[in-house]
Subunit: 249 residues, 2 copies
């Protein structure tokens, strides 16, 4: 099987496992946690796991592997960078609303925040992610981004991007584990806990797929196309002009 | 800074952060958890976090990045494969004893096992690791390992190796989080919880360093030396014979 076919197979599995994680966390909170609301109640808390898993883990993972899709290699990298940045921004917005949901519930119910390791790891994930997004915008997209800065930043961008996913994975697993302890402190495994544990295992599987896709050397965008790291937004317009000129000729 | 210098700097940080994790988990259990014993008491439980973090995370991480050390690239790969396999076996033994410690305490104190997501993720890590070690032995070290099988297995070996580290990270963070909930259920952050949370953040930092080192293309063992994937143990002897012959000539 060629590199391209084996990529598409893995990518397809990755996307389906990711979507299944979202479906499962929605079903968990709809079926057992009283559904969804925005009134400071426990039903508002339901938004927290749903938005964190959808944004900080699944959408983030989808956006992370985007440059590996062979279909995009023959196209302008700048277009894929914009889609990457857009998906990441959507992931960041979902995660931020997910954080707000839980802080708001805590303040309404007079529960303190930020004492557990789960909260420390999760907050580190979101703060690092926000910083990463901002640096990515300045380094790779804005017209002011310099070629030299982009080249230097790329290594850090890849490394930090992996760190966010690791933080996110650890936050999701510890969060599910913590919530089940709150609910079933007396060492039992009712249907809800069984279901949420299975969601936890799927979350690790999804993260492994994302890391697997990222690590495979054959699946990287070929070098020929990666020299335009610093292609800032203004180049879109100049490249469009070039195309028009070519047509005219 | 050259690829080699920047590798050694990152490797040095990685090793120190890993060792600090071990020192911190020992100190935590010595200072606040009643120290260490092997009598079915809570002091026996102390061995669980110490052995899992030392074996399944830190030693495992050290062994995972071993082939990236440039110093070893000019040497026979088979020697480094034996060190890699040896360190991994030590890590697996530590993790197995660490599992036994907690199952034994649970059975003495009549506490059920394997109901939490932490236990599911942790057990998946150890079982996947044991299977991975066995497959590695058969595929890359035993005299019977065929070149074709080795080549096919290598991609899976790298992928599964990352999955074990992800499972291990998630198990460590959810385990610390869970233990602190057992101890301080009433939303507080005493010195012990503060210390253990800091350990948790360091654990994520260590994992990020390992993944960062593994992902950097410049730090991979050059292709020229990686064609001997299937170099089985018998080749050590044949290569030694070759050396002796050279000397005699």
């Amino acid at each position: 099987m060629g590199a391209s076919a084996s990529f598409y197979m893995s990518w397809c599995v990755c996307i389906n496992v990711g979507l299944l994680c979202v479906v499962m966390v929605v079903f968990w909170n709809w079926r057992w946690r009283g559904g969804f609301a925005w009134d400071g109640s426990e039903a508002q808390f339901s938004w927290h796991p749903v938005l964190m898993i959808s944004g900080l883990l699944v959408l983030y993972g989808f956006a992370a592997v985007l440059f590996r899709v062979p279909w995009g290699w023959s196209q302008k990298k700048i277009a894929w960078k914009l889609v990457h940045a857009g998906l990441m921004l959507a992931a960041l917005v979902l995660a931020t609303v997910g954080l707000y949901a839980v802080f708001n519930v805590h303040s309404t119910l007079n529960i303190p925040s930020m004492y557990s390791l789960h909260s420390w790891v999760g907050m580190s994930a979101v703060v690092t992610f926000a910083w990463q997004w901002f640096l990515g915008l300045v380094g790779f997209l804005l017209p002011c981004s310099a070629q030299r800065l982009s080249h230097y930043l790329k290594g850090i961008h890849v490394w930090t991007g992996q760190a966010v996913l690791l933080l996110s994975l650890a936050a999701c697993i510890s969060g599910i584990n913590e919530q089940l302890f709150f609910l079933f402190f007396f060492f039992s495994l009712p249907a809800e806990a069984l279901f949420a544990n299975m969601l936890g295992i799927l979350i690790v599987a999804f993260s492994s797929l994302v890391f697997g896709i990222l690590s495979k050397a054959d699946w990287r965008r070929p070098n020929a196309n990666t020299n335009d790291e610093a292609a800032p937004v203004r180049r879109i317009f100049s490249s469009l002009n070039v195309k028009e000129n070519v047509k005219e000729n």
